[in-house]
Amino acid sequence: MSRKNNDSLDYRPWTGPNRHYDILKEGAIALLVVTVLVVGLSALFSSPDDPALTFKGWATSSPDDFYATMVTELAGTSATATYGPPYNEGDGVSVGPLALQKWGGVTHPVDAAQDFVITPLASQANPPAELKAALDAWTAAAPEQQQKWGGDYSDALADPAGANGDATKVPAGEYGPVPVLSKAATDMAVSGAYDNALTGQGQFFQTDQTKQLLLMGDGTFMDDKATELNLQGNTWGMMNEAGSWPGQQWLAFASVWYQLPAFNAPDEQADGFTRTLTDNADAIIATILVFLLFTFLFTPFIPGLRSIPKWIPLHRLVWKDYYKKYGRRSA
């Protein structure tokens, strides 16, 4: 479809026959129709509102998961502790040599062990003696010692041939204060105090939920609920929403990429190209989307793409009356 044919009707002011048209009347009728539709749909279906998860709910219904998460925070092995920018030092994801995640630096610093475990526990007014001793021991220890305690205990707790997640079956070892701290954090969460400690973060006004959400995502509780509701990326979760609602269908162009097997390598697949694609899926898909969006934006200037409407002549349905009456130039 040439853009240089300046003699065509496309470029000239229309001087042909007209039809009566009242833009404001059309707008008024459209507004009435849409308003009736919106009020009707709202009255019939309401709108989605699944309650937010709480730390109390998590620790009450899945205490083992909450406990194990506390251990990984102390060990420095949780998703947050190893995330990278903008929360802490690390590599993050990249597209080949392009590591955009690192460019912004650490702008929202998060010390997983301190922020998610130690600070909430230390915020209690009169901690039990055992907890106070555990906090003191943790604080006095060197970072290497803290990591060793946490790492050893985390390994022992997760050992499928041993405790397999059951804290009561962890064999004796040099774990320092980690078991006491993890148990105290779980008990505090069950009481509901964790929600307040993390939400307020010691301030009167607080509108930033970054730390709460990062901790919530470190366990499997929120992830399991999302799986149950078909909200995972590989089940069109980017556009779905909790319950039977339309969701964000307009995100289909982005959600479709997360369905491809190349971006869904199983966890047990340790390496390979697909593993790399999966590990860096967010960065790679974002790059693809940026490319596609620019293509979409500049469609009028892209040879071939701009001619598709002529090759697949759906437009004849739109203008069939005009073509019937006035004709159409031959291709």
Binding site: M1, P17, G27, L53, P86, G104, L213, W250, P300, V318
Partner: protein, 225 residues
């Protein structure tokens, strides 16, 4: 000299205001801005979807303003708040439905022809801006959807290096993006889009023959049939 009685061409501006006025009237004279007629080819239901998109956006804005009266948690606690939230929710759903139909319609009509590329570009930007506004809307619903969407989408934002200035897990920041910054940008783009449509007029049919100069021999066999 009374500018009110001059034609646009005769009017010689002596101020910035006058210059803008002359340029505005040249570009968008009243008959273009508020036309009473349209070319005869503007006769299909597909043309209605542009207007439906605009009025849906109006309902989105009005219901959104009503929601601000109660705050982001209002709809958890009150049936009136829930209904208002539902008005906002369904107007957004219809808005996107109409906009996507409008956009696809314009694609298949190759509506960027005849120096209308900027109209297309502002249309695409309107879609992208709307996606941004809707996304931040979901992020501030203070329910499980908001938790999960914020948690998951932060990875995309961090992956492309914008997490520092667009932190989806920061409710306060997302509220401001949703009710102030992004709607303002979107409104500007949409106004530009509508003005460009009015300036250039509705694109003629692909391969249309001008009725006034049509040579009957140039008409296709399709016409004869």
């Amino acid at each position: 000299m009374s500018p009110e009685t001059d034609t646009v061409e005769e009017f010689t501006p002596t101020t910035w205001t006058g210059s803008v006025r002359k340029k505005w009237l040249r570009t968008l004279p009243p008959e273009k801005m508020l036309p009473e007629h349209q070319p005869v080819y503007v006769s299909s239901w597909i043309y209605v979807f542009g207007m439906l998109t605009i009025v849906s956006m109006l309902v989105v804005f009005v219901s959104g303003v009503l929601l601000t009266l109660g705050g982001v948690q209002w709809f958890h606690e009150s049936s009136l708040g829930r209904f208002t939230n539902s008005l906002h929710y369904w107007s957004v759903q219809l808005f996107f439905l109409f906009m996507v139909v409008h956009l696809w319609g314009k694609f298949w009509m190759a509506a960027w022809r005849g120096k209308r590329a900027l109209t297309w570009i502002t249309g695409v930007l309107s879609f992208l801006g709307s996606v941004g506004v809707a996304f931040t809307g979901y992020a501030i619903t203070t329910n499980f959807n908001a938790q999960w969407i914020a948690f998951e989408s932060k990875d995309v934002m961090n992956a492309i290096g914008v997490g520092a200035v667009f932190n989806v897990t920061n409710l306060g920041q997302m509220v401001l993006y949703h009710v102030a910054a992004l709607p303002l940008v979107l409104a500007i783009i949409v106004v530009m889009h509508v003005l460009l449509v009015r300036k250039h007029g509705v694109v003629p049919p692909i391969d249309a023959i001008d009725p006034q100069v049509a040579d009957s021999t140039a008409r296709t066999a399709e016409v004869a049939s």
